[in-house]
Symmetry: C2
Subunit: 630 residues, 2 copies
Amino acid sequence: MPRPYCKMEPLALGQVRIADTFWAPRIEVNRTGSIPHIHRMLAETGRLDALRLGWKTGDPNPPHIFWESDVAKWLEAAAYSLATHPDPTLEKQVDETIALLAGAQQADGYLNVHFTVVEPGKRWTNLRDWHELYCAGHLIEAGVAHFEATGKRTLLDIVTRYADYIDSVFGPGKRTGYPGHEEIELALMKLYRATGHERYLRLAEYFLDERGREPHLFDAEAAARGESPPMHPQGGLGLDYWQAHAPVREQHEAVGHAVRAMYLASGMADLVAETGDEPLRKACRALWESAALRKLYLTGGVGARHHGEAFGRHYELPNESAYAETCAAIALVFFSHRMLQIEADGRYADVMERALYNGVLSGMSLDGMKYFYVNPLASAGDHHRQPFFGCACCPPNLARLLASLGTYAYSAAHDALYVHLYVAGQAAADVAGRHVSLTQETDYPWDGTVALRLAMDGRARFSLCLRVPGWCTKWQLKVNGKSVPARLRRGYITIRRVWQDGDRATLALAMPVERIVAHPLVADDAGRVALQRGPIVYCLEQCDHPAPVRSMTLPDKARLTARPAPRLLGGCVVIEGTGRTPAPSGWKADLYRRAAEVGRDRPTRLRAVPYFLWDNRRAGAMTVWMARER
Amino acid sequence: MPRPYCKMEPLALGQVRIADTFWAPRIEVNRTGSIPHIHRMLAETGRLDALRLGWKTGDPNPPHIFWESDVAKWLEAAAYSLATHPDPTLEKQVDETIALLAGAQQADGYLNVHFTVVEPGKRWTNLRDWHELYCAGHLIEAGVAHFEATGKRTLLDIVTRYADYIDSVFGPGKRTGYPGHEEIELALMKLYRATGHERYLRLAEYFLDERGREPHLFDAEAAARGESPPMHPQGGLGLDYWQAHAPVREQHEAVGHAVRAMYLASGMADLVAETGDEPLRKACRALWESAALRKLYLTGGVGARHHGEAFGRHYELPNESAYAETCAAIALVFFSHRMLQIEADGRYADVMERALYNGVLSGMSLDGMKYFYVNPLASAGDHHRQPFFGCACCPPNLARLLASLGTYAYSAAHDALYVHLYVAGQAAADVAGRHVSLTQETDYPWDGTVALRLAMDGRARFSLCLRVPGWCTKWQLKVNGKSVPARLRRGYITIRRVWQDGDRATLALAMPVERIVAHPLVADDAGRVALQRGPIVYCLEQCDHPAPVRSMTLPDKARLTARPAPRLLGGCVVIEGTGRTPAPSGWKADLYRRAAEVGRDRPTRLRAVPYFLWDNRRAGAMTVWMARER
């Protein structure tokens, strides 16, 4: 059943096959590298054993309040992977993990190891800082994914019981509450879709409605704990850190912890999709515009600040000190994808694509087993991917996104088929009463030509809606070999006609090297320029250059050439040209000199590589933005 | 008695009179505004009452571990002020405060309210994090200053008893220890100078020698407290935060908490001055070069990072996120001033001057009653001075430096008189057996002409050593109205001759507007330029400009003019010219655009004001560095 307030529905994972040279190998690395690696890490760090409830006071390594979320996201990733690629070993690990969760669940349905064995008396006593509802949300998402991928109800039953228990605790006439780390809202909306039980939608709605109401729940909780304000001049965190400063329908600026903010907004969008709640839709749009049009890194990262892992002010986008957590870029993909279904506007797909090809993918090493938590746009050479983290949200988040990438590429409506992402492979959908199979051939993102072929079980009139990315200014469309006039509207070309088996469409997106500048209010990019080609944002890495890359200047008149480098970094396109670098002579011990005393910059070879591939070679400095010489 | 390993000794406060239009009014604001204001703040926040030892468990506002240091620095500031300007009201407040300290001192000499009334069992149990030795150091500095200013022994006796008690606790054959927050080392060296008791020098030497030895004391302390490593990927602090990672003679890079590092280095230099310890001198020189030649902001600020209030890597000098704590710039003045006496090299005076006129003075508002803790080189307009802080180290640190400014201006040796800072007023010293009085007339720092006149009780051959600041490339010297050839060596012109009463020397330092660029490895300043005139670093404030100041570009060919603005910000010189600003049209909702689509920048009026004066008018954005158009 399509949702009443959506213009389209994403195709399910089983309807999409990815068979390209860009994503398919990465999804395979995810399946054979990342997912087993994360399972090992979960086991080695005690996250799986903890589910046996054997920890006792005085034991080392107490189960942490957010461990279930790591297990759950791994289960979700594994489920998606099983949906497109059967794997008995993985399925067995999944079943064993689910059995552990079943054993850890309490008689009343509660399921959080920390508050069962470490602090058993403290259940629900600090909704602001402790992650019970957050973990519950990830367990629910995993339960739904597992059910949809395998048809098994084992995990779905566990999370349904947990959700029913939570529903018995919170709500009107019951305990007042909402989570400090949002996530359960969007999860309950998925559970509602999977089960059809409206109580889950109502509970999600309750958590959203209650949030930010006065008197503030989190202040009352904090006062009850006897918290005093911090001594240090740097200060602490305000209610906006938790997006709890105002009712959600009155929130118009993306603030506070970026992952939480984007998960919250995703849950809000899910409710809009079902109920059409107009004030909520307006808030969603305002939050998205704030995040994507005034707080977005060129790489699709969000959350500029380390302090609070938080959104900064509008246009506050420092490069080296960027936080841009991998999970925040992923959460922005979730939110943008939801808004795209509701509004059918290509700007949401543009941001989704920008994040996917840059600030999300940068989170993972080429071998899939090392991760960035933080994704800066410049580095002195001391920032490197790690095998895992104490707070390990990002690795399994990447794994679940990559394993489910197919669902982001296409959507269908009653009589329309949308192509959002250009990825070689197939999609199958029922459109206008016909079964339609669409094959894509393309070398995207390295080349902009996309050939589409339809296979159908009969003729039907419907719209094929092809996205023209925001980065593209020149494109050409052919249908069955003939140029056809087509109008671009809100990011899509709509080809409405009677389609039949064997019909072909070809979209050629011109993909020159582009120099990009940032809005004048982005102070950190003033006088600077970055390189982009197609959806790919580029950077300079020190290992390609003899001179310090972060002091290189790019003259406006320097010619830049894109060149395929099939053996570099798993295969990519590099950008080459001539930049300028300060003359090293004369600096000696000085830190500052009169400009007039410093000689003119010298020409130097420049080679830019895709940003998402950085830090896969020799450690060194990196920069996305270069000083511009006009 | 001059110190054996110093080339000169600073003149005492009583030997110097400041009578200019720049510092004198600021010193008077300090005396009539800041010092009374800080006393009020000490009283209002409970810091003075705490000394009555009346706090009991359960009472609000428990005395904090560093409160004595705030009281002590205020006492030190008040003592310096009394030395140059008698003030019965202030002297009464000082005496009352000393009486409170006498009452708080324990029978054994110990003096820290927190560990007397709040956690009485925990004395000396966490040298790493708790500030007992730090507070003791500030009390000792205050005791010495008070004795030297007033001749009274009341506070000196208290701190001598405390120092003797500390000496009975720590040292070879006693308890092993050294402070997490350095300060007591330099204070004990002052106490040694004031009393002549060598045991204080030995105790300072012990604390320096013990620091960083393996096995690491702080690790052992932490293990005893059962501390576990932090969970968060951002990580914690290493031993280098406390400069405890290596023995001090093996430390060559300025690292960790910047104030601590510079206080430590000052104590090290004090020991070098007395003992000539060559490895220690080498370490001092290396630490100074690291701090001043590779980690120094153009404003003289140090400590780039908020995290740990710490030095960054070499050349890590971000602008908006600069920490550059006021206290760190002050501590750099202390350290540089000490190195200057030891080595007689103008580079130390250059850094001292850069800090004093920029990153130190910026710490205080024009009315002397609001303070910056953090001194960024760019702001979005949300950074403002505050009346006080929970951690209130900076306000009384500024007060004591301003009240003692005279001691930084001159030094004397057996047959030489050094002028380090150009400040209208007088200095008196015994040189080459004669009493010499030197009068300076100058409008420095707004004008570079300095007229010097000698009054003497007879003729004598000695060297008058005049500093030629590092910022000056063109200067002219006249003696008794005639140009004389003079050689510049290590930052000073030495005029050696027989001087007599009425002799005059005039030094004209050319003071054009200078465009400054940073070392190619300072990534945050790549492609940028800043303005300096004389010792004063300039900035753009939003209230002077219609266009966003942080996106303004300064063409190399733009003419810049210095103009006196006697009614602006208490009187200053501004720099005016024409910059360029992005055309605002066409940006609409975009955050990033193709460079080719954006119109050329437009000319716009530019007015730069001295950096230290910013945030004294309408709140708004500020920047020191501008994009450079070549």
